[in-house]
Amino acid sequence: MRRFITQRIISMVITLWIIATLTFFLAKAIPGGPFTKEKALPEAVERNIEARYHLNDPLIKQYLDFMKNLLKGDLGPSFRYEALTVNDIIAKGFPVSALLGAISILIALGLGLPAGIISAYKHNFWQDNFVMFFSILGISIPNFIIATLLMYIFGLKLKVLPVAGWGSFRYMILPAITLAAYPTAYIARLMRSSMLDVLNQDYIKTARAKGLSESKVMTIHALKNALIPVVTYLGPLIAAVFTGSFVIERLFYIPGLGRYYVTSIYDRDYTVILGTTIFYAAFLIFANFIVDIVYAFLDPRITYSSQR
């Protein structure tokens, strides 16, 4: 186990380094720069700006400087938001996105898991059809449509919740539901199919044949194994949802991190492009790493011992 963890950490660092390097050169390769504006700048002004932000340094020097600072944990200043450093942007935006993400994941698990289990248990009964109908909707309706519908109904028509903004819990309800729609539906389907799969396994039949109660068969034998695909999905899901969604944060006007993934590219805000990409990549890699460890507890067939 220890050797597995050490190996994974080394490969995680290498992966991150490759991602950072590729992103750096790709970002610099996009035409235009952070100060490209409709109104052209006089030569002297351009020169001063390049000198101030070290944009006139040779590319390789810019890359080495960036890597040096990255090792120190300093992601540099933002070009677009002069009052902020990239570290500020992540420190301010991530807690907001993560809180919203955590609520959505709780909704997704709280609704998706039971729905999937019931669906599998009542296979082809009306409960199954009911769950599958809504899960199809949840998967196929784009989140901006769900968002607009919720804003219109609960904000404008019923006037029970604010349309957009951030602050108290009231502001989190609509975006959290929107954000949870897809994962809830996906988890329900995933849980259903893996549960059906497990219920047909021989060891379940054995358990039943041994005369175990149905509830024991379901919880102890079936559920634990059926959870593995859901746990696999949870790794990337947590990484994606905790680091913020561009569409949802833009529509609901939420000061999270999600907007920066897209706006930084439009702004050619190199440091923010790099900072947010590296942050997301690190989060994703780490989440997958945790998932791998959780496997070992869920499925006795999976071990990370160094035998063999």
């Binding site: 700048l41 938001y81 301010k92 833009r250």
Partner: protein, 564 residues
Amino acid sequence: MRKKVTLILLVAVMLLAFAGCRETEEKAPMVLRYNVGAEPQYFDPRKATGIPEFTMLLNLFDGLMRYDINGQLVPSIAESYTVSTDGLLWTFKLRDAKWSNGEPLTAQDFEYSWKSALSPEIASEYAYQLYYIKNGEAFNSSIPKDGNYYYPKVDANGELVTDADGNVVPDLEKPFDVNSIGVKAIDDKTLEVTLEAPTPYFSSLLTFTTYLPINKKLDQANPDWAKSADNYVSNGPFRLTKWEHNNVIEMEKNPNYWDKDAVKLDKIVFTMVEESSTELLMFENDEIDWGANPPLPELERLLEEGKVIINPYLGTYYYLFNVTREPFDDVRVRKALTYAIDRESIVKNITKAGQLPATAYVPPGVPDAEPGSDFRTVGGDFFEPYNPEEAKRLLAEAGYPDGKGFPEFTLLYNTSEAHKTIAEAIQRMWKETLGINCTLTNQEWKVYLDNRSTLNYDVARAGWIGDYTDPMTFIDMWVTGGGNNDTGWGNPEYDALVKEAKSSGDQKVRMEAMHKAEKILMDEMPIAPIYFYTRPELIKPYIKGAYTSALGYTDFKTAYIEEH
């Protein structure tokens, strides 16, 4: 026991009722909620460039001059000013005014702000707005080294000398003297400004954010003062009290403002909602009072319901011709394409926000030499809003009768639904009237700008919003090789006229030169004007007294909220 509880409850209810009464007696604070639509880049007036920044800074600060509610330019921090007969020396007498922290505002603050805005180290994008000041450009172009400034080194041909990394090198024999910059505080209340050339519209330039003062003492003690609301000091109608990035900005009435009696709002709450459909929902749900970006597809309904007000906007929407490419090197082709555009149909059926068809380049709303006259009215129209016969004739004359043999070309625009709709309409008009084919290409904003400035296009969409209310802000961009002249076009006569207008202090001479220049531009047609911009905005009917400038910003100094 039960009795006691009842009694306590009764007393509590009565107390609450009284408290309620007191609250209604006190006047509720007057709060305006405005959506500016984008997070401001920075709150340092020396470096601000965008319209959201302008709106915020002009409410936080007060310059030497300010536009009043009727759009009249009036002295503000300046009590009065005089101009020398040659138009070069401007002397401003400052009134007794204070910073929001109570410190007195002095002429030294202005001298310091302008000089530091010009300094190469600050690297302000809008430093060139201060190039009117004597040696302003020289200072901005100088190279700092060991605490001194030097002119850049030039070789025998006048070209800049660069080192191995491509950096411009300082000429150590030619130091730049910071005292030679044409802004000087004679005493606490007198500011003397020397200009490079006579500039009659200099007084209107003084409303520009780059000319606002900053607190010298504060900036020297804490260069990061403009990065948060904590240490922020300004001198205008409002002061910054809260800045939560991409969430909310709050300003409160500045009790130390010299003209505080004119300020009626207690507070302005700014949101930065970028999504226009969200802005509209918030507006209709009474979460904001004013939104700067109504969604275009809803415009017609919103205008009918009286929710949108159309404000003037000093700008022109036009197409660029790349005159370095065939067949656009032929003026007859350029004219044919221009005349074949049905402008009325575009403003009536597509843009729908009261835009005017453009039959010239400089939009209306710029004063001419005679007081009260408008440059556009004096200049008149240069062509018909739609002239298909003349267009056909010119195209035939250029050797492409009914479009036969006309090479296929591309029409470039930056990705946006609005530009796309207009481009499709014009593509159809060219096809139907002239029989020529073009393909549409859209590119992401900065890729498009890059291709435009490197002349990597055939015909491209463009727009220009004036920086100040003088025709020069539109005219001087088309000089040969100008940084904003993305057409490859140039005309020595045009350049001479611009030079003449720039060196004269006589409004008559200037305006005449600029009218002549505009005529050359429209005779040679490197650009096809399409329409003059307007600015539709979501505004609640109870908001009164705000000044919406045709330059794009909004001044809430005298704004108030009517009982509703």
